[in-house]
């Protein structure tokens, strides 16, 4: 297999024009698109993926503190890129539901983090859909933190850089599945081409509906161009209780990434037009000298109100 087969050519880089070096411009041969898929129905909340993520990525162990529930840590951190979130909710009929969701980067097709990033090459999107941070180029501004609709990137106050799941790009590039996928004992985390994952997901949704989960859904929101880590969500009616935004959007013309992009174009045009106008104005009108002193002083006294 070549890197092209694995979709490892660069498709987009933060703060880099589309003509930038290393960016593939010929899209006539469609690249392989990959995806993870988390089948929440099959997840038993064992946290094997969390541990595998820590091990493979060599992330330091973090002390946690006691808080109620089954969750290992209260939140994602620069050293915890994968976290099982547990949420106990009361359903409409009074029954209890235990919602468990693997929380990690969703590798958006239109990544809010990448669109927000001002540092060239600090966020890289590969043709296969992986969105990766390059800490060498990161300047620590944390715009990605505000840019991400899923609250994923975490700022390390020691290194002053941001970190998140890489979709195990170092494993994927050698033809292996991500560490969390490999560790999952129930097959709840799947990995394959986006096409295969979509097919699996849609079929699974039908099965769930047949079992009575009438609002079951495949979570792959269009507002971010689709995901490279999708979820099969059994109870689609309470998406937000899983911690998933119902309608995340970064591409709509009224969303801030688009507005800031438009403003940038206005700013660049206005800057050049303004400088040009100033130059032309100067050429046309030139300098304005005061008249000789006696004349200027006399004129000044003429303006004086009487007395």
């Amino acid at each position: 297999m070549t890197t092209t087969d694995l979709g490892l050519t660069i498709r987009r880089q933060s703060a880099t024009p589309a003509s930038g070096t290393n960016i593939r411009r010929d899209h006539s041969t469609p690249a392989l698109e990959i995806s993870k898929l988390v089948d929440i129905d099959l997840c038993i909340g064992c946290k094997a993926c969390e541990v595998a993520c820590k091990e493979w990525n060599d992330l330091q162990v973090e002390e946690t503190h006691l808080f109620s529930g089954y969750q290992s840590h209260p939140d994602l951190t620069p050293h915890t890129w994968d976290l099982m979130r547990f949420n106990e909710v009361e359903l409409a009929g009074g029954a209890l539901a235990w919602l468990i969701r693997k929380d990690s980067c969703l590798h958006c097709e239109e990544p809010g983090c990448l669109l927000a990033c001002p540092a060239p090459g600090a966020v890289i999107q590969y043709e296969n859909g992986i969105v990766d941070f390059n800490q060498d180029a990161c300047i620590g501004c944390q715009y990605c933190v505000s840019g991400c609709p899923f609250d994923i990137p975490r700022f390390d106050t020691v290194t002053k850089k941001v970190y998140k799941c890489t979709l195990c790009i170092d494993r994927v590039s050698t033809g292996l599945e991500p560490a969390c996928v490999k560790a999952c004992p129930t097959g709840a985390i799947r990995f394959g081409t986006k096409e295969d994952m979509l097919a699996y997901g849609l079929e699974k949704v039908e099965k769930l509906k047949a079992r009575g989960f009438s609002e079951a859904m495949l979570y792959d929101p269009v507002g971010v161009g689709g995901l490279h880590m999708m979820y099969v969500v059994p109870r689609g009616e309470i998406l937000e209780q899983y911690g998933l935004p119902v309608d995340p959007t970064v591409t709509a013309p009224t969303s801030f990434p688009s507005l800031i992009g438009a403003l940038r174009k206005v700013g660049a045009t206005a800057s050049w037009a303004g400088l040009l106008a100033a130059a032309v104005y100067f050429l046309k009108t030139g300098k304005r000298y005061p008249p000789p002193e006696e004349e200027a002083v006399a004129a000044a006294y003429e303006k004086a109100p009487h007395g």
């Binding site: 703060a15 880099t16 024009p17 001002p118 540092a119 060239p120 180029a137 300047i139 620590g140 501004c141 944390q142 715009y143 933190v145 505000s146 840019g147 609709p149 609250d151 002053k160 801030f256 990434p257 507005l259 800031i260 403003l263 940038r264 206005v266 700013g267 660049a268 206005a270 800057s271 303004g274 400088l275 100033a278 100067f282 009108t285 300098k287 304005r288 000298y289 005061p290 008249p291 000789p292 002193e293 200027a296 002083v297 004129a299 000044a300 006294y301 303006k303 004086a304």
Partner: protein
């Protein structure tokens, strides 16, 4: 011990009839805001425009720029507070300014109006108020960008958008300001270096102020 000769004294030695327009303190405050502001504009372009990102390297690297920019912003604001206070007495709008604004077209075409202008003309006063308000807005919208954990995500995005809008306005008016105070009107720039202007300059551009100073009714350089 050698005596210290100020820039102003040096200028008067060559041309004794000069008028002091801006005192040493005023000039220090003005150049403090200028230097900090130029840094903010340049690093702002570097952070806001991918095609200007090479400036990040020129200015010491992206991480340094990200760290320094907010602090320079604080320094600028401190200068702005002094500028606000020192010029406030001269910057209140009066009825003569209405005459100046009505003749704005003539001012643009010829560089002069026959307004009985005081120490500052209507445009200069407008620029003063614009600078003060714009500076405050840049500070307020800059804080969420500096410390993104304070506010929800949407607020940070809105702050980034507004910070950019006001940054563009500040940059635009700065070009006008620099152009008018250097290339357009000879004899103006020296008021911010040695602090002095010629009698002809003063009488021509600021007749009302000139008459007061000439009659000894106003301490030279006072605001």
């Amino acid at each position: 011990m050698a005596e210290i000769v100020t820039a102003e004294e040096l200028a008067r030695e060559q041309e004794p009839r000069l008028i002091t327009r801006h005192t040493f303190g005023v000039r220090v405050v003005h150049w403090w805001t200028t230097l900090t502001f130029l840094y903010l504009i340049l690093s702002g372009f570097a952070l806001g425009y991918p095609r200007m990102a090479w400036l990040l390297d020129v200015m010491g690297g992206g991480q340094s720029v990200r760290f320094v920019h907010p602090w320079v912003g604080v320094g600028f604001t401190v200068g702005l507070v002094f500028m606000f206070a020192m010029w406030l007495p001269s910057m209140r709008f009066h009825s003569v300014d209405r005459h100046w604004f009505r003749n704005l077209g003539e001012y643009v075409r010829t560089g002069h109006t026959d307004t009985d202008t005081d120490k500052f003309n209507g445009g200069q006063k407008a620029y003063y108020w614009f600078s003060v308000i714009n500076g405050l807005v840049l500070l307020i919208t800059g804080i969420p960008l500096w410390l993104p954990d304070l506010l929800p995500r949407e607020w940070n995005l809105a702050a980034r958008f507004s910070h950019h809008v006001f940054f563009l306005m500040a940059a635009g008016f700065l070009v006008v300001h620099v152009y008018l105070s250097t290339a357009r009107f000879p004899g103006t720039f020296r008021s911010m270096t040695s602090g002095t202007v010629s009698r002809a300059w003063a009488a021509f551009h600021h007749p009302r102020w000139f008459r007061r100073v000439d009659a000894g009714r106003e301490h030279e350089g006072a605001d």
